[in-house]
Symmetry: C2
Subunit: 224 residues, 2 copies
DNA sequence: GCGAAGACGATTGCATACAATCGTTTCGCC
DNA sequence: GGCGAAACGATTGTATGCAATCGTCTTCGC
């Protein structure tokens, strides 16, 4: 094992007090946003200074991120941002391709009226954004749609697994927005329709097709 | 939130030095084995004394277990063994029911000859144990079979997710062994056959049926 | 000049000490 | 006696200090 690049030479250290769980989320965000590059070394001192805390909460946050798979910790050696090969990146999509349809099928039965209203609202905003060409709002709306749907599945484990997958996919992939936007939100509408009807198998099928189409529009970041 | 029961009044504290990752596994084992009951409070001091280390490695291990979902941490309040409702327990099986067939289908293409040999050996031992009635060896062999298969899938993320699921299922469920043993190992044989033939859809179908049969034989522990 | 062994610097691992917070109990007041 | 607030004890959160380990550089020997 060799030391690849030195410490993080990144801007904007925030001097806000954060608990380990918040630190974990903050570092994960920085990893996803590319502030810390794959393979980059993360020193405890560096992160501690960056976030204005001591090494102890940083260590706890790093252990959490290691379980989540965003960093890998080599004992007595160091912590490094994880590197996903193109194959591993594709594997993430393959897992999501079976879990999201499962979530949709369950949501067809377990969804409450409140869930439906939220989904309808998100789809309405999404389609409006497509119509008006304000595409910058779409990523957040898309995430929100799938988040609500995972919640509506009523399966907490499934929800957290899919959430983790979405984090990783957002990290590894960049999506070609304009090409897919219109179709994507039409499909979202079809999914909500299936949920309203309580048709689990229809919801599963439509979601499976939606994921299939979405995967085809992804583009791997940082190809070696 | 109320304090349910006091600290762990458990026997056999081991005075072996352990790293945070090993501590995490050790505590998780104790949770799965029921040494720590669901809902029980886990104090850092208590665990530190039990494992012969200071609170720091214990804290890091607990953060990892919280991410894995075996404990829940309430800031400035305490750490408690997680409690899974019967619904949440059933949800675990539902997730596994789509992920294991996916692993089997992938393994049909990605498995190496070394994987096949290991699987054949495990199945041979399993069927022999069934034949001779030495049923106490079967749980370990069953875990080993599914572990090798997950590895053979060549999808590291899928592997770790399924591994986590298996931990939780072993924790929450007890299985009626004698009733299922013979059929289960016949199905294992069929899965290996499908992998040998490289028939992904056959492997997926056989595994799906295997999981379906296995789930029917589970019995929830600690029903409230 | 080249290879190996030891010393150094940097970083992680861990134990201790202290601060912050929560639940409970006790005390005072009505 | 009942209610509210302050003090206490217990536990968690964090910072600091030191030991352990690793990689690298230097130096010695050939």
């Amino acid at each position: 094992m060799t030391v690849e690049n030195t410490d993080q030479a990144v801007p904007s250290p925030r001097t806000v007090r954060r608990s380990p769980a918040e630190l974990c989320a903050a570092i994960r965000d920085d990893v996803i946003l590319g502030v810390f590059a794959p393979g980059q070394r993360l020193t405890e001192d560096g992160l501690a200074e960056r976030f204005g805390v001591s090494r102890m909460p940083v260590r706890e946050a790093l252990r959490m991120l290691a379980v989540e798979g965003f960093v890998r910790i080599a004992p007595y050696y160091g912590t490094f941002v994880a590197e996903l090969s193109p194959d591993e990146a594709a594997d993430l999509l393959e897992i999501r391709a079976v879990l999201e349809p499962l979530a949709a099928a369950r949501a067809a039965h377990r969804r409450t009226e409140a869930h439906l209203e939220q989904l309808r609202e998100v789809v309405r905003e999404g389609r409006q954004a497509v119509f008006h060409g304000t595409l910058d709002r779409l990523p957040a709306l898309n995430t929100r749609f799938h988040t609500i749907l995972a919640e509506a599945s009523g399966n907490t484990s499934l929800n957290s697994i899919v959430e983790q997958l979405r984090y990783k996919i957002a990290w590894v992939y960049a999506v070609e927005l304009p090409r897919r936007a219109a179709d994507s939100w039409t499909e979202h509408q079809l999914i909500v329709d299936a949920l309203e009807q309580g048709d689990a198998e229809l919801a599963r099928a439509v979601m499976a097709e939606h994921i299939r189409q979405a995967d085809a529009a992804y583009r791997v970041r940082n190809v070696p």
